[in-house]
């Protein structure tokens, strides 16, 4: 029973992405297979060298770097959303797999969820 947690909100300005990450980590902590899919403005989570200090927040990069430690199976990013936001292999953090977020992708999972 594999779950895909989708994050379509940008890393700052909304809290739902962080709460979605907690959902994924929680699944992994209970040995339930889980992957993350970043889509829409959510792909900005995966941008290298975020400087969130200017708005008094911590960069989400650190939260995300815990994903492999928790046992998250894959960090996926929608290719077309990355194009929209000017992200490519050189500007994405390590460990991200580019995919086409379409109906075919979703057939690999028996459960999908957003945090909000």
């Amino acid at each position: 029973m594999s779950t895909l947690i989708m994050i379509d909100q940008p890393p700052y300005g909304a809290w739902t992405g962080r709460e979605a990450l907690d959902m994924a980590f929680s699944l992994a902590a209970f040995d339930q297979p889980a992957s993350l899919l970043f889509t829409g403005a959510g792909v900005n989570w995966l941008r290298q060298a975020q400087e969130a200090g200017g708005i008094g927040q911590k960069s989400v990069e650190k939260n995300l770097s815990a994903a492999p430690i928790f046992g998250i199976e894959a960090i996926l990013a929608d290719r077309s959303a990355c194009n929209t936001y000017g992200l490519d292999e050189n500007s994405l953090i390590e460990g991200v797999t580019l995919v086409d977020a379409d109906a075919v992708l979703l057939t690999n999972y028996d459960h999908t969820a957003f945090a909000g």
Binding site: M1, T16, D22, S26, F30, Q32, A115, G116
Partner: protein, 138 residues
């Protein structure tokens, strides 16, 4: 008419009452599911959805009090209602245990709602036939 197999549900509500229709839609679904002979395993409040468990909502008398309506449904059907502890603490929703732990001036969790971790959602997701999400939709 074909016999419909009984199905069990975990309902996740992430939209707050009065800023979204999520709690109302979820209650309509829950009532219909129970009426059709299905079971609601649990209701999990996450993100802004935790506001539904507030004992302090006091809408005008000609509007539905969704916190009260949900509490009544949970009590009538012995369905556990759980607010995510991390979401709840961030948003100022606490029971007496958390009030003491964080030395807060008040507790405001409406019975029979409880506060627990995301493990409750994980368990519901595994045990129930289906897990449905009710989001704010914005």
């Amino acid at each position: 008419m074909a016999e419909t197999a009984s199905v069990t549900f975990t309902l996740v509500i992430t939209g707050a009452p009065y800023s979204s229709q999520a709690p109302q839609t979820a209650l309509g679904f829950a009532q219909a599911a129970v009426d059709a002979g299905h079971r609601i395993d649990r209701v999990f409040l996450y993100g802004d959805g935790v506001h539904l468990a507030s004992a302090l909502c006091a809408p005008p008398s000609d509007e539905t009090n969704w916190s009260e309506a949900w509490s009544q449904f949970l009590a009538d059907h012995s369905v556990p209602g759980v607010a995510c502890i991390a979401s709840a603490l961030r948003r100022g929703l606490v029971n007496e245990t958390e009030q003491k732990r964080y030395e807060l001036p008040a507790a405001n969790l409406r019975a029979p709602f409880e506060i627990a971790g995301l493990g409750e959602w994980v368990e519901g997701r595994i045990k129930s036939t289906r897990t449905l999400y009710f989001h704010a939709g914005d």
